[in-house]
Symmetry: D2
Subunit: 377 residues, 4 copies
């Protein structure tokens, strides 16, 4: 099987997410990394790309150059990953899709609901694959949770409780550090801080495992570090289409929590719990029964969970392999196979609608607000 | 030192809380258990009291008899524990206080805010000790948390997040079991189900550790088992007088959580975490530093934490000894010493005000409501 | 039911084990604490006893006085707890038994195998109850483990692995602290340090859960702090009568382990794991199946586990209540009922035989040695 | 930077270790996977290699063909990974080294001590890199432990305790399954079963973290499933050159342990603990202080730990990235840089010497035996 050709926009030297994408795309030998516009500083981007093994003529100075020149090649890249600052995702994703490239876009996919809906339309019209990197949904044990819910193993879902709270922005004396400050500045981050940054991962997770969608929500936002204009802590109550009650807490000032992303799903006949710092176990309790530990790689897990696990039971698989799973499924999708779990532009648009709904609700003292994009109402 | 004389109303055979009180009161040899009206069925109560070693003439058929006869004795009981059904707490507590007995009342102290304020006044007028059994606050590591907050070790508290969620009422096929059903029936439980049952423990804990009071709240209630009139799941956002943001989730349908009561406190310079299923450790993270495990009994803990721990480091001490700590402090208070941590009638009245505020808010789609008793506004 | 009368030798102010016995004996209201010779300093012992509520005429200056005067009383104590320095256990236990008192002796019961066998004989001849405080065996979930093994739920036991390792004597600069030093000085501690102190708890646990006895062993001892004559770290391999392979590690220099006592039992069809720092859970894995968490207090546990648990599921019960369970069973045994799990003088004698066998083996470079008392060969 | 060319012998379809090597070699984009003899069945091997993207002319039928034809190419592979059945490691590794290829050999490197010493000599003479896949040593937090020991942060190491115990061969009814049976059959596995399979990982880990070597050992072996000729459970006590006491337990019948590989290191001034199922945390306790959790990726960890971590703090990195770290360091070494932590042929030879020493000791009832290869005595 020949490899797909892969390129990247953003993810330059020192970026957090760049390495995860490169590990993810390359781990399984499915892609050749052949092109990139990795940095907003053209020279740095070109030099870094070449250090990563990209030929000089495909080490681009900016994404416009990359778009133009790759379009012109016979051996142009199959897939472009967009890992640039958030405000540029929309334009880059849209233009690459329209030019016929498959795209994997980092979250948030866009900055507004309208842009989100636009990507949905563009992607559909293009016939290209467009995915959003909600990569936590690609952990084998998250797929196992979803498969169990779908199979009715915990009955109708009554309640989903999810948190994505860390403390890495809890130091007020570090609040002016540029790597932190922009996240709470509307000029750069848009309408929401922590909820748009981490909360939408949790909200996607709730929808993903429940195979259901958020309909309405009520939010309470706080800027616990007063110099911040945007929220660094948020609580969102929500209701899903199927009637499930949702609770979501997200914080960046929860000092001592490192990567506190977890989800609990409670149904009529059982409960499930998964946590991103211990991703290879899924905790399951049947109603009236004992709590059981489902191990990644054990006999009898769902087809999806088995397919997306690479090494033997209890050999831990971490975040980079969750990203790799997104790339595995993208490769299959690009080759024309169906991959049900890939996060879609619709997911990206729904996230934006939820962000704007939460902002509106928080401003209105927690009033309940429709959380759906207009196109899905 | 002669022992105090102790009696109990309620807590009969098969009750959940009776054994905890007897273990708690007797463990340290501070009290003689000499009187009781243990059951609403007079004969069963008298027989059980005698099986527990109480003399026949102080094994009473009901609390009215106990009140009348103990009052008439020279060697009357010093302390009465009230562990009857919730709706009777107010009357029994009030009358025993007025008759000059010290009282430890199970929570909820009353069914209404007005009754709560009445107990505050009666207790003050009586000159007797009246305490409410918020016994989790008497765990050594909870006291350690409170001492650290008071000493400024985590700076000003920004955020407190607490959960008290279990799954023991999650089986809809068991919902008509009388031991479960009454909790969700307004005729027996009053205006609130799970929040009044467990949520107020969590709310007291937040106030206790922060040495602060809840001022306002917004609630979202759900009856996830539809036959229930009262809520079996609730989310409450709140604000404390000092500005601290609060988040409280309580549930009885969280299948797989056994006794999921925990609290996290996040301040300007550190975070703390405590969980009731692992009560002998307090998790502490200084901002920018490593997470540390503070062990019950280690050198250097606060005076309160040291005083309320009985056996060596890492020898676990559990729920009955937390209750015992309440009795230890009650004995000291009865003897005229000051005991700062004992839960007060004011705490009981505040809980009721929070319950009524949460009910009002939940009915008003999460509107923010004053959560203080009128007497403390 | 009238209370039994209880007295204590040793366990004076500041002792580690004294409070555990007082909590344990008093918690359930089964005993009145009426006599004591609590300290080797007569005046301190008498004063402390009176502070604990003992009448002046039964607050004795030494155990000889207590033995003589209690024997002479009509209302003499039923049960005497011996919690004195180890070297005195034998004589005190023997004389109180011969004088017709029931005795609970702290471990080690004696300093030699011969003394151990003597207590076995004396106890049998006396017709009194003699128990040794292997109190960990009285945790509900330890009883559950034993019940499951007996019921064949894990098949024939192939392997038992147990550790009792802590780091509280790991500071060489504190090695001359008298509270630490005596434990490694043959003049005070006898032939063995850490193995005799903690290892025999682990060995008893292995025998208890497996309902089997150690036959032979091979030991490796180390004095990792060179000034110590006796071992502060030991590994003991052993074989049980039924063929089970045993592995036991014990250490007092394992810095970071607080109370690292755990046991794992592996049979033909399942495995069990229990740890003393998390005593309310028993971890069970059926062969080929998922790991399950058995909670203290859950429906369906063994009769013994249910009987020895006092408060509801997941309300933790700790070390003092394990000691209390010994006292509960002692009270029953004193009243003539059968209590199968009470640790016996035979257990005490077997421990001593194992200690001497381990010392002999360690001196002989790990040669395998018969670990049984001569009377049981 | 141009990629290195990589080939693989063994690791065919369905093998456990093949995927880990492919993920590890490809994740960082340092190698092109261009050649392979993946299966002992020539046709299956060729087909599978091509499905993995290898050109038809480098998809070989057996390793002899691969050796001959790669030697003849100008663009021959730089590095060959040997992941064949154990008994063939020696010959393949030796011949590829002699032919001028760099080699990464799976453990055990050889079947005898003499072969191990031969590889040491051949590798030295060849001037090629030869590494053994003790990949657990490449986890960032294992490197952190080693760096802390080297920096004296826990003082002189007194004691190292390591376990590698699982239960995946605990089902006697599955003992004849060919995937299990060969491991306990001397005709296929050599002189040792579980100790040679997993124990040597643990022994390497102890040496690695302590930067010290095993000198002598005493072993107790058991075949708890009687049909097995080789041991399925082993306890090994050892002493290191620097005087450190070692304890190692390994088992394949510990039902309920999934991948129970952990190591504890206790020094004069602190203790460390690491476990392979939670590889991103290192637990550290300074003597007399509180236990701290060191997180992969936190500020201030050692250079090695920082270098070998790819994604942000608390984003878990698992087993495939530990293997990848071996490949990262191999690439650097092949390019002439120094990489101190790479497992060497000397490590491989020492493992074999320990295996034979343990077998000899176990047969001699635990007698202490020199555990060093003759060349290192």
């Amino acid at each position: 099987m020949t490899k797909l050709k892969w390129g990247m926009v953003g993810g330059g030297e020192g970026s957090q997410i760049g390495p995860a994408h490169r590990l993810g795309a390359q781990a399984d030998g499915l892609y050749d990394f052949v092109a990139g516009a990795l940095d907003h500083r053209p020279d740095e981007g070109r030099a870094y790309a070449q250090r990563l093994g990209i030929a000089a003529d495909r080490a681009y100075g900016d994404w416009q150059e990359m778009l133009a020149k790759e379009q012109a090649r016979d051996d142009r890249v199959d897939l472009v990953t967009v890992a640039t600052p958030n405000a540029t995702h929309f334009e880059i994703t849209k233009l690459f899709l329209e030019a016929g490239f498959h795209v994997l876009c980092e979250k948030p996919m866009t900055m507004t609901v309208e842009e989100g809906e636009e990507i949905v339309r563009v992607a559909a019209a293009s016939g290209r694959i467009c995915a959003v990197n909600y990569c936590y949904s690609a952990y084998p044990m998250v797929r196992q949770a979803r498969a169990m819910v779908r199979a009715g193993e915990i009955g109708k879902v009554r309640l989903v409780v999810t948190n994505f709270s860390h403390g890495h922005h809890g130091d007020a004396t570090d609040a002016d550090n540029p790597r932190v400050r922009w996240r709470y500045d509307p000029a750069m981050a848009g309408v929401s801080g922590q909820f748009a940054d981490c909360g939408i991962h949790a909200l996607h997770m709730a929808s993903f495992i429940c195979s259901d969608q958020v309909e309405s929500l009520s939010a309470d936002f706080a800027s616990t570090i007063p110099s911040r204009e945007l929220e660094d802590d948020a609580m969102v109550n929500f209701r899903m289409a199927g009637g499930t009650v949702g609770r979501l807490w997200t914080s960046s000032v929860a000092i001592g929590r490192q990567h506190g992303f977890d989800v609990q799903v409670f149904g009529e006949t059982g409960g499930l719990r998964w946590a991103s710092e211990q991703p290879n176990q899924l905790i399951y309790t049947p109603v009236g029964g004992r709590t059981q530990i489902i191990e990644k790689g054990e006999a009898g897990v769902s087809e999806e969970a088995a397919r997306l696990s690479r090494v033997a039971i209890a050999h831990p698989e971490g975040f980079p392999l969750a990203v790799a799973n997104i790339y595995v499924d993208l490769a299959a999708a690009i080759r024309g196979e169906t991959r049900d779990g890939l996060p879609t532009p619709e997911d990206g648009a729904r996230s934006m609608a939820a962000v704007f709904a939460a902002v509106e609700s928080a401003k209105a003292d927690g009033a309940w607000v429709d959380a759906r994009p207009p196109m899905f109402r």
